[in-house]
Symmetry: C2
Subunit: 192 residues, 2 copies
Amino acid sequence: MITQQACPFDIALLHHPVRNKNGETIGSAVTNLDLHDIARCARTYGVKQYYVATPYTDQFKLIEEIVEHWQNGHGARANPERKEALAIVRPMPGLDEIIDDIIVRYGKKPLLVATSARPQTDKIGYQELRTHLHDDRTPVLLIFGTAHGLAPEIMNRADKRLAPIQGNSTYNHLSVRSAASIILDRLLGTER
Amino acid sequence: MITQQACPFDIALLHHPVRNKNGETIGSAVTNLDLHDIARCARTYGVKQYYVATPYTDQFKLIEEIVEHWQNGHGARANPERKEALAIVRPMPGLDEIIDDIIVRYGKKPLLVATSARPQTDKIGYQELRTHLHDDRTPVLLIFGTAHGLAPEIMNRADKRLAPIQGNSTYNHLSVRSAASIILDRLLGTER
């Protein structure tokens, strides 16, 4: 049972490059509840920063406006707990800029761990990643994809690919909000 | 590690009676993504039926229309996987009707297990409930609340109250979509 992390741990949600249902690489649209649900969950599990990446200026601005509403607008006054969760959301153009930011924050390049619903080669298991979080000082960036998941270029670029979630059926189509919640609990939850 | 359930296991999402932020008992509005996210997760973990309860006729009709769109409408053709998930959603007026339906389906009153983010008296832990699912033949109905959680009358009526999710911070404001995902993984997940 791990209650303390030795290393910084951040998460990222990429809207590009991701796959559509035909397996083509696309950019997806920002979804309001992806920001809220994943920020609330990340905050619950002590994640320091929740990067939300899109290369599109209007979508980037949408993220900023949502965060602003809950940090300084009416939302902040109406729901202080939501303000606290959204405080960890940080819009970014893409993965390169996220890595740069982590290097500035921690002085070290993070271990990139990509997530996917598909079987992976050279995968890291949950217990193994928990052990890293507990014993290693290298920062970890856990990367989630929107739409039909991260594009192959991100999966290949990652240092590790996290084992896909196994339910107990052959059905395997969780929302990214559910997948992120389950993965954060598996990696950082203190009660099993 | 439990891969087979001995007993039927269903879940319910109640929109009434639930609490608002002032602790008053209210009825809440149906949220489209509560149907989708929780149905997809429940389907992944092999849950048989996902009851969604509201006493309000217009809201009941809204659930029926959403399910219909994904069962027989455009959604069913556009996204067969979503069709498969939404197939387990069943609108109900309230908890009494859900219990009646379970008695008809299984010939036995279910063990009612309520969920909450608050500390509980006479609570059941995750391992204990996993053991029940594995060893006992009494059906289990796991009950989730919308808004600020199930009203006291439901918490008190339940046979058991599931231990709240512990993250690793003092922040404790998960969406019901995240909470349901984490709880289903803790109870029914096969890989830890």
